[in-house]
């Protein structure tokens, strides 16, 4: 399912990376109740608000989370982000692998990566 989130967002450099983002377990409820998104994000990251990571680094998951918060998140942002990462209880998979095996926020995004966010916080 395509949508219009940030399709033309580019930075001055113009370089972008295309990614597929999927939501599950109720996380989609925070993103307009759409499970599958194709996005195009800047290839070069901005600095994190706290300055913990600098600008001009290749885009990583930390930047993606920040970018999603600014460009995609529809409601109740505290249910998705906490500080500069996802809220505890949200699982992240990078190309179907637990992000804890891939360096979590430091993982450097590659074109066509598929990133899945699953909430464990919704009813069982």
């Amino acid at each position: 399912m395509a949508n219009d989130f940030g399709l033309n967002v580019t930075m001055a450099s113009g370089e972008t990376i295309n990614l597929k983002i999927q939501f599950g377990g109720g996380a989609e409820l925070l993103f307009g109740n759409i499970r599958s998104h194709e996005v195009s994000i800047p290839a070069i990251a901005a600095a994190t608000p706290s300055g913990s990571k600098q600008a001009d680094r290749p885009s990583d998951i930390t930047f993606l989370i920040q970018w999603m918060k600014d460009n995609m998140l529809k409601e109740r942002e505290g249910l998705f982000v906490e500080g500069e990462t996802v809220r505890p209880g949200i699982l992240v998979l990078i190309n179907d692998t637990d992000w804890e095996l891939e360096g979590e926020g430091d993982y450097i995004l590659q074109p066509k990566d598929e990133i899945v966010f699953i909430s464990t916080l919704h009813g069982g």
Binding site: G24, G25, G26, L29, R87, P88, G89, L91, L93, D96, T97, D98, E100, L101, E102, G103, Y107, V116, I118, S119, T120, L121, H122, G123, G124
Partner: protein, 358 residues
């Protein structure tokens, strides 16, 4: 970062870091270790014996969906010899339970298990939607909790099963331990970590996923592509549990073993004094287990029917709102008489025979 290899088979690519152990495991080894651990939990607690009739409390959510899948798998793999049923309660919450029941109906097809759905409406004459309309959003969870508990037992009795398994996972139990500590509820602290609870006249309830981490349950459902429904109940912002949950999840990030550690702590607590448990008797109106003249559900239902929904609700500082039970003027809706499943009557008879008088 080069792909990591599974620490179990030393062959396939690892896809999950197990929160309990930190092991890096491939998909097949993960399925295997997850299922085997549930099997070991079941065996160590001797939860079942061949021929048992067991109802899986199914909500359509992740935990009960994984439980149904794993119970069905283990029953076949290890020849437990169980007759399994799916049992769902329809609280009558538009846009929540009606959707999740559709998931349960698909699960019934997928797992080929008989399904029983019992609704609050048919049992009590009230849906949760109607209850909320009358009582508002403050005490509605009390109604729902009391009504669900009794509905599950009645559904189980109608399936003639004497054992209900529920999808409570390790995170749920750790959360409950924390909440009971924070409330100083010692009686419950001892009970809440038990894998199986059974009173004299109650249907057994067990939690086979007691040691299964929520993360692994969700990952299992994801990689098995299980069909489950996830949303929050529209009426239940259980704020207190929500805080306990967030706290626990934050702890888990720092130290993943914390969930099991809290459960172990709960198990290790010894209650110094015997906790006085009120003697159980039968509700004079519906025959269900009660500690007073009327069971909780009958009291709550009478309040609803008479338009005084505070009847039977504990009100913070005051002990309990007691309203003199006057005879109702008109016919009052009551709950049908409860009968224990016949399998239990037999086993009770057997127990009486084998218990020598002291």
């Amino acid at each position: 970062m080069p792909p990591r290899t599974c620490q179990f088979c030393q062959n396939a690519r690892a896809i999950i870091r197990r929160p309990k152990t930190g092991d890096h495991v491939c998909k097949e080894c993960f399925f295997n270790v997850f299922e085997t651990e549930v099997h070991n939990t079941i065996q160590e607690a001797k939860l079942f014996k061949p021929g048992d009739r067991v109802a899986i409390g199914a909500s359509g959510g992740k935990d009960s969906t994984v439980l149904a899948h794993v119970m069905k798998t283990l029953n076949e793999r290890y020849d437990y010899g169980l007759n399994l049923f799916l049992l769902s309660i329809d609280e009558g919450i538009t846009g929540y339970r009606d959707d999740s029941l559709e998931t349960v109906k698909r699960n019934q097809q997928q797992y080929d298990l008989p399904l029983k759905i019992l609704s609050y409406k048919e049992l009590y004459g009230w849906t949760m939607d109607a209850i909320v309309e009358q009582v508002g959003r403050k005490n509605n969870c009390t109604f729902c909790g009391v009504f669900r508990r009794q509905a599950l037992d009645r559904g189980a009795a109608s399936l003639n099963v004497d054992h209900i398994v529920t999808g409570h996972n390790a995170d749920d139990i750790a959360e409950t331990v924390l909440m009971n500590i924070m409330r100083g509820d010692i009686a419950r602290l001892g009970r809440c970590t038990l894998i199986c609870t059974q009173g004299e006249d109650t249907i057994r309830r067990s939690k086979p996923l007691k040691y299964a981490y929520e993360k692994e349950i969700v990952m299992y459902a994801y990689f098995k592509k299980l069909d489950y429904f996830s949303t929050e109940c529209i009426y239940s912002p259980d704020a207190y549990r929500g805080h306990a949950r967030s706290f626990l999840k934050s702890l888990e990030v720092a130290r993943p073993s914390v969930i099991i550690d809290i459960i172990r702590s709960g198990e290790a607590f010894e209650v110094a004094q015997e906790v006085v448990i009120k003697e159980q008797r039968k509700c004079s109106r519906c025959g269900y287990i009660a500690s007073n003249e009327l069971c909780k559900a009958c009291t709550l239902l009478e309040g609803l029917e008479r338009g005084i929904p505070k009847l039977g609700i504990r009100d913070g500082k005051r002990k309990k709102i007691e309203i003199e039970a006057t005879e109702p003027d008109g016919p009052l809706r009551t709950i049908p008489m409860f009968k224990l499943p016949s399998v239990m009557e037999n086993s009770q008879a057997a127990r009486t025979e084998t218990t020598a008088p002291s």
